[in-house]
């Protein structure tokens, strides 16, 4: 199959970023100083303009072109990735840092990988996109610092990440074997993995292959679960985050989460109808149990952390657990034969935006508070920050409130949509499927308890900043632009908290476009009508 020129034109932002990274690596050889920051910002601006040409995610229709899919979800996630790239560029913008150009160029490759992952409709492209995130991330970790802790963190992350990639690849191999294609969603006469799972023919020679689909689901969940720092792959996060710089921690906490959410939604949700043939409950019990384990481990272990990056690592694990609630809800709805994700996928998309804004903002602010020689790391180093750095303290407080889920901020709406989708699913199945209903009520209760535990350690940080007498003042030498990035994120958190209807509406639309059955492919022969899905009303009505 030849690649059409239309497909290439749909990759313009990624191509611009790739060229930008090449230029930066060249500039790095000449100690270009200010020129490299300008080149970086031009590359991001160019990519943003190219992305804007594809139209607003609010009214995009789903189109397939070669291995790419352009739909509201892919456009939205690409915008988030670009924003993350811009913010982390600001966080690492000090010119006198050794290897600054290499940092920026490598970061640009990571962003490019995240954007490819968001729009991949092909197993190969999805895997290559994920590796384009992983491999430069190893280099980023390696560039950050050159001390013992950093070397150890890089080593730990590298081997665990490779193992996760291998599990994912093994899962992909089973998917390919079962469906006989690498295309995820087919169109026209081309059958994709989705159609192969929906239109299972029990008389075909290869029908026994579908017995392998639970294995594929487990392997894929493990591989993407690593990206979300979900149990049982959560233990690397605290060590790795502690051993690297604040800006790198931000990249590690945000970008793989975006990729993991994209992968889960694009692929895992589609495998579920196939898995449901063998055992209906398995497909949603797996993410549900992982969600409960992940958020409980994250929140409980965060309580006694003294290192701020370690604390944020456990917080990132806990948020990975909340994200899995959305997957469990979507899986339960999909495995019951309806072609709807019951608000779970939309909640996941909205939550990952909320989480990304707060996390990258707080790490950007922490990067500002440290200096290239000495990173800020202990929670007690923040003592009295309200007096010495009032603006930085206020932005950090906003992020902590948002991560806790205090009402006027974005984090509250994120938790509300996710937990609400679990409760709605449970209410809709109260009579038809009592055990499912009970499971999801239990999930919502555990999630609410976890949010309460989480408040304890987020509020402790605010208490240290505002109510403790200052020790030695923070160096605050990370560059003014890093503070600008933090304040920008804080404004976005407040803005999306004040006007959540637009964004929640967009994420529910993205979910609808994601799970809708492509009309050009023959309808499923099984007696599962498309119209009889669960009656789900969005919590915040879209306009």
């Amino acid at each position: 199959m030849f690649v059409e020129s239309k497909t290439i034109s749909l990759l313009a932002p990624e191509i611009i970023l790739m060229l930008g990274a090449t230029v930066l690596f060249l500039l790095g050889a000449f100690r270009a100083g200010r020129a490299q920051l300008v080149a970086t910002l031009i590359a991001y601006a160019g990519a943003a303009v190219a992305l804007a040409c594809y139209g607003s995610p609010w009214n995009t229709e789903s189109t397939l072109s070669g291995p790419l899919v352009i739909d509201p979800m892919s456009l939205g996630l690409r915008w988030i990735a670009l924003l993350a790239g811009f913010i982390f560029t600001l966080a690492g913008s000090r010119r006198d840092v050794e290897l600054a150009a290499e940092f920026q160029g490598t970061l640009m490759l990571v962003i490019c990988g995240a954007m490819l992952t968001a729009s991949a409709n092909e197993l190969v492209l999805l895997f290559l996109g994920l590796e384009l995130i992983s491999i430069p991330t190893y280099v980023l970790l390696f560039l950050g610092r050159r001390d013992r802790a950093s070397a150890e963190a890089t080593m730990k992350y590298f081997y665990l990440s490779l193992l996760a990639s291998a599990l994912l690849l093994y899962g992909f191999a089973f998917l390919y074997g079962i469906s006989g294609t690498t295309v995820i969603v087919g169109s026209g006469k081309v059958q994709g993995i989705r159609e192969a799972f929906l239109n299972q023919d029990s008389t075909a020679l290869t029908s026994s292959l579908f017995k392998l689909s639970p294995i594929a689901l487990v392997l894929i969940t493990a591989g993407f679960g690593f990206k979300l720092a979900a149990a049982p792959f959560q233990f690397y996060a605290p060590d790795v985050y502690q051993g690297t710089t604040n800006a790198n921690t931000g990249v590690l906490a945000v970008i793989p989460k975006l990729a993991g959410v994209a992968g889960f939604l694009r692929l895992a949700l589609l495998v579920i109808p196939g898995t449901a043939v063998a055992d209906k409950a398995f497909a949603w019990q797996l993410p549900l149990i992982l969600a409960v384990l992940t958020m409980t481990i994250g929140n409980v272990c965060a309580l006694w952390q003294k290192d701020i990056r370690r604390l944020l690592a456990y917080s990132s694990i806990a948020h990975g657990g909340y994200l899995l609630i959305g997957l469990a809800v979507g899986a339960a709805s999909m495995s019951s034969g309806s072609h709807q994700a019951a608000g779970g996928a939309g909640g996941m998309l909205f939550y990952v935006l909320v989480y990304a804004l707060a996390t990258m903002g707080s790490l950007c602010t922490l990067a500002y508070l440290g200096s290239p020689r000495r990173e800020l790391s202990g929670v007690e180093e923040l003592a009295g920050l309200a007096r010495s750095q009032p603006l930085a303290a206020a932005t950090l407080a906003i992020f902590m409130f948002s991560l806790t889920g205090i009402p006027p901020l974005a984090g509250f709406w994120g938790k509300l949509t996710l937990f609400g989708s679990a409760i709605q699913l449970s209410a809709a199945n109260q009579t038809s499927n009592t055990s499912l209903s009970l499971w999801f009520v239990g999930l919502a209760i555990v999630a609410a308890l976890n949010a309460a535990i989480g408040a304890a350690y987020y509020l402790r940080i605010i208490g240290v900043m505002y109510f403790q007498s200052p020790g030695s003042p923070a160096p605050a030498a990370g560059g003014r632009l890093a503070l600008v990035g933090g304040v920008f994120c804080a404004l976005l958190v407040i803005g999306s908290g004040m006007f959540p209807a637009q964004i929640v509406g967009l994420s529910l639309r993205a979910e609808h476009k994601l799970v809708e059955h492509a009309p050009s492919v023959s309808p499923p022969p099984l007696g599962e009508g498309r119209g009889e899905g669960l009656p789900i009303t969005p919590l915040v009505t879209a306009r």
Partner: protein, 111 residues
């Protein structure tokens, strides 16, 4: 069933792939030398590769799948090479800091 007279089928390749995968995973879990762990990675990736090639085989189903499986295997081989290059840099950096590549020495970060 006599294993010496039965024809080799796709499932035999799948079993070989699974054995490779598990061997690699065990190797990653038990080796202390960083380069030994890297060899485990190669085994794991090649186990997955063998699966891709076996599933793409024309003996599995009536219609042929073309070269998809083989091409994925090629992509993965290239990726494994890129990862090995980074792995060597990381191992060298670790050696500079710890004067050993025994991964059990990476035990300072905890809590």
């Amino acid at each position: 069933m006599n294993p010496f007279t039965e024809p080799i089928t796709v499932s035999h390749y799948l079993i070989a792939g699974a054995v490779l995968f598990v061997t690699g995973a065990v190797c990653m879990a038990t080796k202390r030398n960083a380069l030994g762990v890297l060899m485990g990675i190669e085994l794991v990736l090649n186990g997955a590769n063998l699966n891709f090639v076996a599933f793409g085989s024309k003996f599995l189903r009536k219609e042929t799948l073309g070269l998809d499986g083989d091409l994925i295997a090629l992509f993965v081989i290239v990726l494994a090479a890129a990862e090995a290059a980074v792995a060597l840099a990381i191992a060298l950096n670790f050696y500079n800091n710890h004067a050993t590549i025994d991964v059990d020495q990476a035990d300072e970060l905890k809590g």
